[in-house]
C-alpha cells in the first residue's frame, strides 16, 4: 500500500485515491524541436529501480496534481511537493542522499 500526502489539501491519501501520472520533471519538446528530442519526450522514460520522481493526481480527492519522490524498490516515500516545481527541492534531494548514499542524484 502506498500513502502519499497531497501538498494541495494535506490529506495522506491512499494509492486508490490517486492517479499515477508518470515520470516528473520532463522537459516538453514540441514545435521546433528535433525529431530525436520529440521522440525522447514522447517515449523515453527512466525506469529506475530505486529513487524516482513521479507525477500524481489526487483524483478522488481535491483533484490536483503534485509531485512525489519515492523508492520504486522499497516503496519508501521521501516526500511530496507542489506540481509547480521545476526541479526537486534541494532539501528533499539532501534528505534522499542521506538515506541512499549510493544514489547518483537527480538527472534531468
Amino acid at each position: 500500500m502506498l500513502l502519499l500526502t497531497c501538498p494541495n489539501c494535506g490529506v495522506e491519501a491512499d494509492e486508490t485515491e490517486l492517479s499515477a501520472g508518470g515520470q516528473a520533471h520532463l522537459k516538453r519538446f514540441a514545435a521546433g524541436s528535433s525529431d530525436d528530442e520529440f521522440e525522447s519526450y514522447l517515449f523515453h522514460r527512466s525506469n529506475a529501480k530505486g529513487v524516482h520522481f513521479e507525477r500524481w493526481r489526487h483524483s478522488y480527492g481535491c483533484g490536483k496534481w503534485f509531485l512525489a519522490a519515492r523508492d520504486t524498490n522499497t516503496l519508501e516515500v521521501f516526500g511530496t511537493y507542489p506540481a509547480q516545481t521545476p526541479e526537486p527541492p534541494k532539501d528533499l534531494i539532501a534528505a534522499i542522499k542521506k538515506k541512499r548514499p549510493d544514489w547518483k542524484g537527480f538527472a534531468k
Binding site: C9, E12, E17, C62
Partner: protein
C-alpha cells in the same frame, strides 16, 4: 414548474445504520480565488458563512459551504433557491475569474444515521474515518464503494454522503449492503 424528482424518491433502509436518500438539494460549485475578498463577500451573501479552511465544512441557517479543492467550494442552499444564488454569485464576481454552476441535478445525497456510521463508511473508503481524522466540521472527498463521493458528519452519529446522480442507485444499494444488520463490529 417541473415536478423535480430525486434519484430514488426518498428511499430509506433501516439496517445497522439508517440509510436515507435525502431528496433534492440545491448545490452550487464555485471555483475561483478562495483568497479573494470579493469571493468571500459573495459566499457570505449566498450562505451567510465565511470561506472554510482546507477540508472544512460549515453550515448555518441559510445553507452550507464546503472546501473541495484549493480553488473550489461547494455551496448548498434549498433546491429552489440555487438558480437565484448562482445569478447573485455570478453578478458579485463579474470582475473576477470564477465559475458558479448549479449542479443540484447532477448529484445524489444520502444521510446515514446511527452509532455505526463510521464502520459503514470504513467498508468502502480508503479515507481515515476514525475520530482522529473525521469529525463534524471535516469534509472528505474520496472513494466510497469504488465511486467518487464526498462525505461529512453533521453530528457524531450522522453522515451526509454526496455522489454523482448517475451512480445514485448504485450508491444506495452499496450503502444498504454495507449497513446490513449483523455485518458490523458490535457497537456499544
Amino acid at each position: 414548474m417541473s415536478d423535480v424528482q430525486s434519484v430514488l424518491g426518498g428511499a430509506s433502509f433501516d439496517g445497522a445504520v439508517k440509510v436515507t436518500e435525502a431528496g433534492v438539494q440545491g448545490m452550487i460549485t464555485l471555483r475561483g480565488d478562495l483568497g479573494s475578498e470579493a469571493l468571500a463577500k459573495a459566499v457570505k451573501s449566498a450562505v451567510g458563512l465565511a470561506v472554510p479552511a482546507p477540508l472544512a465544512v460549515k453550515s448555518g441557517a441559510k445553507g452550507a459551504v464546503a472546501w473541495m479543492s484549493p480553488d473550489e467550494l461547494l455551496l448548498t442552499v434549498p433546491y429552489d433557491q440555487a438558480e437565484a444564488a448562482v445569478a447573485k454569485l455570478t453578478k458579485a464576481l463579474a470582475d473576477e475569474h470564477h465559475l458558479a454552476v448549479n449542479v443540484s441535478d447532477a448529484r445524489a445525497v444520502f444521510t446515514l444515521s446511527g452509532d455505526a456510521v463510521r464502520d459503514v463508511l470504513a467498508k468502502g473508503t480508503p479515507a481515515d474515518v476514525s475520530p482522529a481524522g473525521f469529525k463534524p466540521g471535516v469534509i472528505r472527498r474520496s472513494q466510497l464503494g469504488l465511486v467518487a463521493a464526498a462525505f461529512w458528519m453533521t453530528s457524531d452519529t450522522e453522515v451526509t454522503v454526496v455522489c454523482f446522480r448517475s451512480v445514485g442507485e448504485y450508491m444506495y444499494n452499496w450503502l444498504c449492503t454495507a449497513a446490513k444488520p449483523g455485518t458490523l463490529p458490535i457497537v456499544s
